[in-house]
Amino acid sequence: MSVIRDHLATHANALTLREQRNNIIASNIANAATPGFRARDFDFTSALQQQMGTGSMDRSHNAHFATGTPGQMQLGYRQPINPSLDGNTVESAVEQMEFAENSVRYQTSLMFLNRRISGLARAIRGE
């Protein structure tokens, strides 16, 4: 069972993180006109490494303490290119681009998952 899970793990984790990131960017877009709102985001690469336990802070021994809990990413604030007078740091163009890129990458992870699942199914059926 763990073998199948490991086989799918990378893209399954990536898919969850992509979905969370989509939600955060959607929240930013929803607040594009709210004075004082600060746009949020997280670093996808380090969040994925944290989930997979393959970051630079990996445990080399079982007795070591783990750094950070899997599934919890570090939310940061976006640095605006052109800050606006009302303190809102959402820039529509930036958020749209990030959302578009994130959606494409979500679909890529989904495609990889689909291929892996159908590959497994084919192996099980023995075709």
Partner: protein, 137 residues
């Protein structure tokens, strides 16, 4: 109403932008209104937006927007001398509404663009969700 998912976020954001569009329409409709005194004259109205965070927003990052209220802008109406006007006061002055039409047009375009943005986000996420539902088939 609690925020559970992206659709709650989008629906509240869209209704907030809709209220903004409504206030703009009200302002534009009253752009040429005339009153007999400075107090009665129409002043442009604006919605006040506020961010609403989901209960676990520090982890999920979900937040949406709500309209706290609608305020009148503190602008002085223009006082025009027009003694022949039926609404003129005893000194012969009328008070034109303090609406800046160009400003309202910009507000209108901004609100409609942001409404479209949110709608686009919803339709993309809906497509992604339905594709995910068919995973492994």
């Amino acid at each position: 109403m609690s925020i559970n998912n992206i659709f709650d976020v989008a629906s509240r954001a869209m209704s907030a932008q809709m209220i903004r569009l409504n206030t703009t329409a009200t302002n534009l409709a009253n752009a040429n209104s005339i009153a007999s005194s400075a107090e009665e004259a129409f002043r442009p109205i604006r919605p006040v937006f506020r961010t609403v965070y989901e209960s676990t927003a520090s982890e999920t990052g979900l937040s949406t927007v709500t309209v706290d209220g609608i305020v009148s802008l503190d602008r002085d109406p223009q006082r025009v001398h027009a003694p022949e006007h039926p609404q003129a006061d005893e000194e012969g002055y009328i008070y034109q509404s303090a609406v800046n039409q160009e400003e309202e047009m910009v507000e209108m375009m901004d609100a409609s663009r942001q409404y479209q943005n949110t709608l686009e986000v919803v339709s993309t996420i809906r497509t992604l969700m339905s594709r995910t539902m068919n995973m492994g088939q």
